[in-house]
């Protein structure tokens, strides 16, 4: 595998131990209109570039991890 995910609890681990949680986004406020919710739920940046995203370490510590990864090259940005 081309990359490892740096889990704060478990160290660098194989990405197949994780469940991919998608782009990190900010949820609309409770009173937001349908358009804002549609944007949040269905529409994605999805660019071949550095992306902030969620991963769930299901076969490890069971924590949600937020990382920055270039989804075109799989290069990890270290914090």
């Amino acid at each position: 595998m081309a990359f490892l995910i740096n889990c704060p609890n478990c160290g660098r681990r194989n990405p197949y131990e994780f469940k991919f949680g998608g782009e990190s986004k900010i949820a609309p406020d409770q009173g937001a209109d349908m358009k804002a919710w549609s944007d949040y739920l269905f529409f994605h940046e999805n660019m071949p570039d550095v992306q902030e995203e969620w991963w769930f370490h299901s076969m490890g510590c069971g924590d949600w991890v937020k990382i920055k990864r270039n989804i075109a090259t799989h290069e990890m940005s270290e914090e």
């Binding site: 349908m34 529409f43 799989h74």
Partner: protein, 395 residues
């Protein structure tokens, strides 16, 4: 003896066109071909930044079928499947269409029940489907282990006799040849870098070969749709996942049908050449990188050996992956983009290849008439705002 005549000639793009198609894959070429042949559009350019068929068109597993459940979309897939039959004659190019039948295996009673429900929906749409018992499957595919030895034994299967395979490169060259015959300019190595929009109307595209003017721009870029989205300042409801495929050693013919297991996510067919093509699920995480991994390959190999025990010593010789831009409802996006003259044909995920003929037909109809044809209405982008997603339960 090979013909000395060149199949087609690539062109340098001109300064202006009536329709520009971005993307020289199957969908782009099919749309251009239909526009030129059936709608009399004279000046069409297909712009491709790499080579024709670089993306999903040359990386799929060649399966054609109509296997969805949602009643809105079934007539579309059915028509597409039927259109493959006449296409070789129409394009005067042998597409190696083989309607060899597809077996979808079930591994439990609930799954069998779900499959029966799906079969009923499909039969109502006029698609030929029947349910088979393990004994019947064993008779049909003697190499398949239908005993209760596998960890998840075969409980039954759904047989789709009209499904089969089409050679994807042959289809690509057939459409390219058809395009060239009707005067479409196919320009390779031309990358679109921007889309010019004047007010609410598209007026041309910026490329590495200069600005090209056109009142109609059609986006058929396969897995790379979000890049086009950024050019016009909008996002698409897609996430890009790669899908890995691998092929094995060449063997004597032993497998006539396409065998798939929706539950275990594997499918296989033996090509005319004799190698097995092994497909599987999408990769479990988003990526724009066409890599292949040990995890996915070993998973496919394990499953295939579980059900075809005789294949235990067959080697994998090659693997590749292609990008799939997936929506949440397993349906594509076709029709308008909100900008006048800019039409979309994106988000085809992993079911774009089989849809090519119908897709080309209806996309051309939409561009020529400006009216969204009835059959592709459920695929409009508006559905994400109106809460009218396609009610598809099969991924």
């Amino acid at each position: 003896m090979a013909s000395a005549k060149q199949l087609l000639q690539y062109k340098q793009p001109g300064k202006s066109y009536d329709v520009i198609v971005i993307g020289g894959g199957l969908h782009g070429l099919a749309t251009a071909y239909n526009l030129a042949r059936y709608h009399g559009v004279k000046r069409i350019a297909v712009l491709e930044r790499r080579y024709i068929g670089f993306g999903g068109s040359g990386r799929n597993t060649e399966m054609v079928r109509s296997n969805k459940r949602a009643h809105e979309t079934l007539p579309f897939y059915k028509e597409s499947l039927e259109m493959w039959d006449g296409l070789s004659a129409e394009l005067e190019w042998n597409l190696l269409v083989q309607k060899k039948g597809i077996l979808a295996l079930a591994h439990s009673d609930p799954e069998l029940a779900a499959m029966r429900m799906m079969s009923d929906s499909q039969r109502r749409a006029g698609i030929e489907i029947e349910m088979l018992s393990p004994q019947e499957i064993g008779k049909m595919v003697p190499s398949l282990d239908v005993s209760d030895r596998p960890a998840l034994p075969i409980f039954g299967a759904q047989y789709h006799p009209e499904g089969g395979t089409v050679h994807h490169d042959a289809a690509l060259w057939g459409y390219a040849k058809g395009c060239a015959r009707y005067g479409v300019n196919i320009c390779v190595g031309v990358e679109v870098t921007g889309i010019k929009v004047n007010g609410e109307k598209v007026c041309g595209v910026d490329t590495n070969a200069g600005y090209i003017e056109a009142p109609n721009v059609h986006v058929a870029v396969g897995g790379y749709s979000s890049e086009i989205g950024r050019m016009i300042g909008m996002q698409f409801p897609v996430v890009t996942y790669p899908m890995q495929v691998m092929t094995t050693d060449i063997m004597d013919p032993f497998l006539d049908q396409y065998v798939a297991s929706p539950r275990l996510h594997f499918y296989t067919q033996q090509t005319l050449k004799g190698d097995l093509i092994l497909g599987g699920p999408l990769d479990p995480f988003q990526s724009w990188n066409s890599y292949t991994t040990w995890e996915e390959s070993s998973d496919r190999a394990f499953k295939i050996v579980e059900y075809f025990p005789d294949l235990a010593h067959v080697r994998v010789v090659r693997s590749w992956s292609g990008l799939c831009d997936c929506t949440v409802d397993s349906a594509p996006i076709m029709g308008g983009s909100g900008i006048d003259g800019l039409s979309l044909d994106v988000a085809w995920g992993y079911y774009g290849f089989k849809s090519t003929p119908a897709c080309g037909k209806y996309a051309a109809e939409y561009i020529a008439s400006g009216q969204l044809p009835e059959k592709i209405k459920p695929f409009a982008l508006d559905r994400f705002f109106n809460r009218q997603l396609v009610r598809e339960i099969i991924l």
